[in-house]
Amino acid sequence: MSLLLTGSEIMQVLDMDLALAAVTEAFRAHGEGRVNLPPKVHLPVARGSFKAMYGEIFLPAGHICGLKWNANFPGNPRQGLLTIMGKLLLNDPATGLELADMDSSSITSYRTGAAGGLAVQYLARTEAARLGVVGAGEQARTQVAAILKVRPIREVTIYSRTAARAQALKDEILALYGIAARVVEDVAPAVRGQDIVVTVTPSTSPLVRREWVGPGTHINAFGADSPGKQELAPAILAAAKIVVDDWRQCKDIGEINVPLARGELTPAQIYGSLGEMVTGQKPGRTDPEEITVFDATGLAIQDLALGLEVLRRAQGRGLGEVKDFLQ
């Protein structure tokens, strides 16, 4: 029996607290080696691409495996469609039986934001109050939501190539959180003097320069998710404590992929993984002056852990449609 859940059914049970809790467990399992996580694979087509991400995770809430099949079509918004959408399947690892078949759009956004929040919890200064956001898409929204849960943010500065999008995000932040955000027309003021900087752009050349980054800044680098993408000047990475979500994925598709390929960075300069911080195997921030960077590529285990929580809550509330595909 599989539980089918649409986007709005998922939103009846999904919130950032649930996402932060689930993603913490996912990274704890990653740090403790309780995951089976092959690298994600891609199907490029003419107007976009698909990703298949799959894996297995042993969680306190259960042992689960599954797959996310996500489309990424940059031209979609012009047709009134989402850029990123797809499906998340959960299966019983012991038999292969399908347990859930759900829309992946909001789970993807929330689990990505939650990874940013979790990284901030371990790597940003405790009193971090000023947040700079470079990029104003869907990912920017859940980054802000998650970071507000873990740090006393009072000021948000937004830069986007498209001013209208920055303005829309500003309005949303005021409405949702009562914070008067500021829109800026250059990247520099969204970085200079900020305690936390989030980059969520599809850039293939550095947007953030070394000289804009003050001591003690934490950066969540979320845009790079395929070979050739990068958002940060390599000199920032060279000066920073770099934490990855998963070394194998990050070296190929994360923020570090380009500088590694060019020899501007060596594997020895990577400090560790977020899972190692969550489990306490390595400390997060140890000095108020250090620059820290979290390189996130997104892991299937985040989707599985959050998907399982959503499934459990939906079952508890009788949401969704129970279907036996084998009948």
Binding site: L4, T6, G7, S8, N36, P38, V41, H42, L43, P44, V45, A46, R47, G48, F50, A52, Y54, G55, E56, C65, L67, W69, A71, N72, F73, N76, Q79, L81, L82, M85, G86, K87, L89, N91, P93, A94, T95, G96, L97, E98, D101, M102, D103, S105, E321, K323, D324, F325, L326, Q327
Partner: protein, 328 residues
């Protein structure tokens, strides 16, 4: 909007004629370079595995489809009353990524695998092939027989299985379903010697069929090997045969040829070509009544997509299934 189809809904529109037509479409597209098909990926678990297969195909009629199959293999499942292999097929619009169908892929997998065997026999078995040997009597064996009966005048089926009772049950099934002569045997050699077509559908990792059993002119569908380390045929059979693969990248990694290639018992130059090249008319199939031919089948996502799309269209036309908007 996605059309959600369960197994029984799929079976209301799926038959072997549809599967054979879809297989011809899929392999012809492959042979003409109208497919985009990365190799399948594996998730290995304690009690089995999952495979993620995904790709894109431009069909001859102008339709263009992409999608994914997520399929498990759990060998201990039958002991729990569950199927060993269960699958999900998702079809997407290649222009927007929108989901068009979300269907049980279990029957589609069985039928498309049978149909590939039928298509291979159509191009590679002798026209008058009438005697069929089956090595292995599981779910795959059933659709192999169903497809072969569509393309060759099969009159007699000899079935071998490690468990004689399974072989007997299969022989009974073949007689009842298809009205052919069928008998079970406890000796693998008897299901090969003197037969025109031999089908192997076992999960073996050492040869089950020996060179000296195979007569001139035999065609073999080697279906069982689908992971590194698996093999069903004595490497000497391959050395003596015209070998046709479904896909070089997959076959060399996980097909019947994977073990002999890794051991140096076979070289890449000994592979004759792909079923797609033959289906597209780029290479001839059988050219002599005496040659031994082997089709090495690993299973391609484009077979699932072509058949899944045909099922989707028929189901849509008949108002079957549930239309669901997962984005709502």
């Amino acid at each position: 909007m996605s059309l959600v189809l369960t197994g029984s809904e799929v079976m209301q529109v799926l038959d072997m004629d549809l599967a054979l037509a879809a297989a011809q479409e899929a392999f012809q597209a492959y042979g003409e370079g109208r497919v985009n098909m990365p190799p399948k990926s594996y998730l290995t678990l304690a009690k089995g595995d999952f495979r993620a297969m995904y790709g894109e195909i431009f069909l001859a009629g102008g339709d263009h489809i992409c999608g994914l199959k997520w399929v498990n293999v759990h060998p201990e499942n039958p002991a729990r009353g569950l199927l060993t292999v269960m699958a999900k097929v998702v079809l997407n619009d290649p222009d927007t990524g929108l989901e068009r169908a979300d269907m049980d892929g279990t029957h589609i997998t069985n039928f498309r695998t049978g149909a590939a065997g039928g298509l291979a026999a159509q191009y590679l078995a002798r026209q008058d092939a009438a005697r069929l040997g089956m090595i292995g009597a599981g779910a795959q064996a059933r659709t192999q027989v169903a497809a072969l009966l569509k393309v060759r005048p099969i009159q007699e089926v000899v079935v071998y299985d490690r468990h004689l009772a399974h072989a007997q049950a299969f022989a009974d099934y073949a007689m009842a379903t298809h009205g052919v002569q069928a008998r079970a045997t406890a000796a693998a050699a008897e299901a090969v010697r003197g037969l025109d077509i031999v089908v192997t559908t076992t999960p073996s990792s050492s040869p089950v069929v020996m060179r000296e059993w195979v007569s001139p002119g035999t065609h073999i569908n080697a279906i069982g090997a689908d992971a590194a380390g698996k093999q069903e045929l004595d490497p000497n059979i391959l050395k003596a045969a015209k070998i046709v693969v479904d896909d070089w990248a997959q076959a060399s990694h996980s097909g019947e040829i994977n073990v002999p290639l890794a051991r140096g018992e076979l070289t890449p130059s000994q592979i004759y070509g792909s079923l797609g090249e033959i289906a597209a008319g780029k290479k001839p199939g059988r050219t002599s009544p005496e040659e031994i031919t082997v089709f090495d089948s690993t299973g391609l996502i484009i077979q699932d997509l072509a058949l899944g799309f045909a099922v989707y269209r028929r189901a849509l036309a008949r108002g079957l299934g549930e239309v669901k908007d997962f984005l709502k």
